[in-house]
Assembly symmetry: C2
Homo-oligomer: 333 residues x 2
């Protein structure tokens, strides 16, 4: 028997409970993983609330990212064997799979080999955040090495925001981070940001124009949307790109048509599967960049806190509180 987190109703984290279940053997193209750490993401919090792109089948497993050791392989699996240490990436359906628990079935397509030098906690904090940040900034946003671009990273203390700062700095960009207040300033500056704008205390566009001598930013990477999209447009340079990768704002997003056409802006949605993982060339570039950064110490996952599996519901409550800086981890056992 193994302990597995499932939610049995749409709603808040209180619906997440720990069940004792008989492990299921992996089918073709799957492996069974002894989960050592699961990394939490906002996407599954929305999935839990019934507000994600896909609707759960109750009682549903939860969690799309983690790290662990393979304990059983499916009939046709050739590239992995029992005992392999792996990272589990979100390249799988939230409806069919979930990793918060002692064990998890995982499709081979979602596995990445875990270097032994990296802890399971770090290995569970890489493969949603870094590919999202890399894909959004580089492949969709058009960030180029040494191009001297000014990049705005909003919600900068989040589990994607901090890696985005590291990646933008590694590509030679000037990074303007935003946060609602200044309480997380130390962590944001430590990740490499050049400037922090506290959006609830300062005029975002005015500060960006001041920092850029009136030119505006080149790329913004934003999970907020809502009315903030218009604020972003006001700080954009001509032909700037704004990459939207989340739905944090609960207000309608009025499309700022005048600045978008008036400055020839691009507003791009970023979807990790469609814009990155479904393209082998882009995926290869992302993996090469991320692995190199992890190896040379430029990219260091920031872990907020590790919760025991029994406290999985509390871990998602903590995410909802927005007090975290970096990645929230739930231990596998």
């Amino acid at each position: 028997m193994a302990k597995i987190a499932r939610f049995d109703a749409i709603g808040g984290p209180e619906n997440i409970k720990i069940f004792d279940e008989q492990p299921v053997s992996p089918g073709p193209g799957e492996v069974l993983v002894d989960v050592k750490a699961a990394g939490l993401n906002r996407a599954e919090y929305m999935f839990l609330q019934g507000e994600y792109l896909l609707q759960p089948e109750l009682p549903s497993r939860i969690g799309l990212e983690g790290a662990g050791i393979i304990v059983e392989v499916g009939p046709d699996v050739a590239d992995y064997k029992v005992g392999d240490e792996v990272s589990i990436t979100p390249n799988m359906s939230a409806v069919e799979y979930g990793v918060v628990g002692e064990i998890a079935l995982v499709p081979v397509a979602a596995l990445v080999a875990k270097p032994r030098s990296i802890s399971f906690e770090h290995a569970a904090a890489i493969w949603m955040a870094y590919p999202t940040a890399y894909g959004g900034l580089v492949e969709v946003g058009g960030m180029e090495p040494s191009a001297g671009q000014v990049v705005v990273i909003t919600a900068a203390s989040s589990s994607v925001g901090l890696p985005a700062i590291q990646i933008a700095k590694a590509h030679g960009a000037t990074v303007i981070a935003t946060s609602r207040g200044t309480s997380k300033k130390d962590a944001i500056m430590a990740a490499g940001a050049d400037h922090l704008i506290a959006t609830e205390e300062e005029d975002f566009a005015a500060r960006v124009m001041e920092i850029t001598d009136g030119r505006g930013f080149d790329i913004a990477f934003d999970p907020i949307a809502g009315p903030f999209l218009e604020t972003l447009c006001n700080g954009a340079a001509v032909e700037a790109t704004i990459v939207e990768y989340g739905f944090l704002s609960t207000s309608d997003t009025v499309f700022p048509l005048y600045p978008t056409i008036g400055k020839g802006l691009r507003v791009c949605g970023f979807h990790l599967l469609f814009n990155l993982f479904q393209h082998s060339d882009r995926t290869a570039r992302a993996l090469a960049d991320i692995n190199a950064g992890l190896e040379n110490g430029t990219y260091v996952p920031v872990i907020d806190r590790v919760f025991p599996l029994a406290d999985a519901a509390a871990a998602y409550q903590h995410m909802a509180s927005n007090q975290q800086v970096g990645k929230i981890i739930v231990a596998g056992d």
Copy 2:
């Protein structure tokens, strides 16, 4: 003395009157053109109404596109001489310049040599529409030759829509045109469209999915925006690009965040100056493509009607009626 159209108040075309004025000599970088034909654009109709990106200084000239013969050159003008037949492109400020009238001052940057084989009416109908369509579809939209892309052209009977159809067909795309009804179907199909969707009579997304076997379109080129942007998103393929180049809808444009992120879409604003003319490489590609198409007969400007200068106000009234198919021309004299 020369007859010049000016509007002396913000509002409708009734404010456009014909004045007798002493021609002003061209300054440095300017020429004086004997205007033979002015091509009307929606942009200056919005300028007239005070709804454009720039505000007029009253009484203001009007018109950003035309063709004629140079009658005087400014002190430092080397590339053009008296007697040259030229097209006047919108590469100038609507506040400082305007071409509806018998004569017009024009900055050299806005001139393009007119092949003698092309009529003045056609020459006045090319340089707003074709660069907008080319720049929006190719440079911003990512249309590639022979890529088999499915391209949606909305407001297809407009002075930009018809050239967009011709350019998309010349690049090997499948063209789905839209119009509110079917009254302009013949002209739209004659321009080369493969399909016409009458948006007030048919379900746009359902028809696009039917035509594309459920895949959706690759590129949409749209001057409408407003609630129609969401309709467009519903017909988009994964990673499709929607290029917005106008403000025809008077309703707010709610940004369809879920399909944009859910399908990894790009929504781009297109500005002729910022996205095309300010880049010499893109401008050179556009001119080469357009001149080749005009020369080999693939690109044929569609003229709706030619108004005498005395009826300039009526010409803009006609534009407001949305009854036209193609370009409305006001003769210079």
